[in-house]
Subunit: 283 residues, 2 copies
């Protein structure tokens, strides 16, 4: 496993970690000034700015875009809705290419309004990924399917384990052309009894396109916005990174913390300082 001591160049900050309280250009400067090697911006930030200008600013700092967040949910109640979702994702993939993103992060969606048809949603998701895989190849930006914690299976993602994501990858892209893989996020998968086995399987086809860290707090108070800083929770992050790197992942380690009542209330510079301390000591 790589040492992260003095290697913030191997570390990336997902802009959600700072709570999206400042304009993206300010955030980019902050992250670069703090010495991080990468950034993962969100579409709502990029789309309200000039994507080419953002791309230039990121490039000027020498930052790697470790992921572009995130896909429009795929499943819809109508075919027209599904098609619109695919079109929105294609547009985002073109922006991801302009940003030279290492991955387009796919949070795939789940049950459309009033639906209980989880299998149907998963079928739409698989079909949509198949369509977007072609676009990803054309754009030169890999898709990273991010399995989300099962507590998001109703509303955010019906892909909930690494094994499930890999099965979709193998179906759609049996020869592993490099444009369909997964994002391993510690928060979503730490509990999985098949975790190490699944990461090993992901390695065999070089599917790991992103690695996200934060921590699971024992007394989690909000299902969406109460993630912990690395070291403040229960995840064995160093062991997880070791497994991911044994599986061939050589990209950056990205910090992604949603924390409405804690980290999003702190000074952004302090948050970055603490990330910089915790990454080498905990991850």
């Amino acid at each position: 496993m790589r040492s992260l001591q003095g290697r913030l160049d191997l570390c990336s900050i997902n802009t959600a970690t700072l709570g999206h309280r400042e304009p993206l250009d300010v955030t980019i400067d902050r992250i670069a000034r703090a010495g991080f090697g990468g950034i993962a911006p969100w579409r709502h930030e990029v789309e309200q700015a000039d994507v080419k200008q953002i791309a230039r600013q990121i490039r000027a700092h020498g930052l790697t875009v470790t992921g572009y967040c995130r896909s429009t949910y795929i499943p819809a109640t109508t075919r027209a809705g599904f098609d619109a979702n695919i079109a929105a994702n294609r547009a985002a993939l073109r922006d991801a290419a302009i940003l030279d993103a290492r991955a387009f992060v796919m949070v795939v969606g789940a049950l459309p309004d009033d639906s209980r048809d989880l299998r149907g949603a998963r079928e739409q998701i698989a079909e949509g990924i198949g369509l977007l895989h072609e676009t990803a190849r054309d754009c030169g930006v890999p898709l990273a399917l991010e399995p989300l914690h099962p507590m998001y299976a109703a509303e955010r993602s019906a892909i909930n384990t690494i094994a499930q994501a890999l099965a979709i990858c193998t179906d759609i892209d049996p020869h592993a052309d490099g444009f369909l893989g997964i994002a391993v996020d510690a928060y979503h998968c730490w509990w999985d009894p098949a975790l190490l086995e699944s990461i090993g399987a992901a390695g065999r086809d070089k599917r790991i396109r992103a690695f996200h860290v934060c921590d699971w707090l024992r007394d989690t108070r909000d299902m969406l916005l109460d993630r912990g800083m690395m070291g403040d929770g229960v995840i064995e992050l160093a062991a997880l990174r070791a497994a991911v790197e044994r599986a061939g992942y050589d990209g950056l380690i990205e910090v992604e913390i949603f924390s409405k009542d804690n980290w999003w209330r702190r000074d952004p510079a302090d948050v970055l300082d603490i990330c910089a301390q915790r990454l080498p000591s905990v991850c």
Copy 2:
């Protein structure tokens, strides 16, 4: 699949559904008077009463005890703590026998205080189940390992999928002697991409010892105490029951709803009425 129309005798109420607001003897009478065929009481209710008296009252009503809730968590930071947890579970199993419970519901626990060693916790859990399996056989009460939703993996249960629970069963009890099985709870497992396959596997060894229903609400506000009434959420309960019964389960359907801000504030008689309406129409 059995019809539940006019068959409340096939349905059971877990006393938690009524919020534990009344003494157990009142709750037993209520559930019997409403026409349900079964009840699943909790230890904290039974242990503060006279277990033999409770057993007599339940028997007089002709109620089946579909499960006795629930085990003391197994993992501990010290061997003495682990031994004490096993001893507490053995005492509870003796009470389960007095109650003639169809199953002793095992919520197995997870990370002990300050621990991040999930694998170690799972090893303690497997060892503890092995010890308790012997007691279960002696007492004539099957253990029902209940996989809990992965959002409880830190604090309540490090068994989080049916497949994982079955692997433990097979290890400890390869010949399926009838005293080690699982509880399938819709709330905990509905999201699992391997759900139907796992239920099928459970059927091959006749491992399903209990079946619990409630519903997963889209806008779940509390990770522990915001479960929905059947029909108010996203789970395809009838399809799930069909799978469980195809797998050979012929026991009662047990309603278990934790709902601090909704069902636990309503009149208990009304809650039972609505359960009685929803079971045949939704499950």
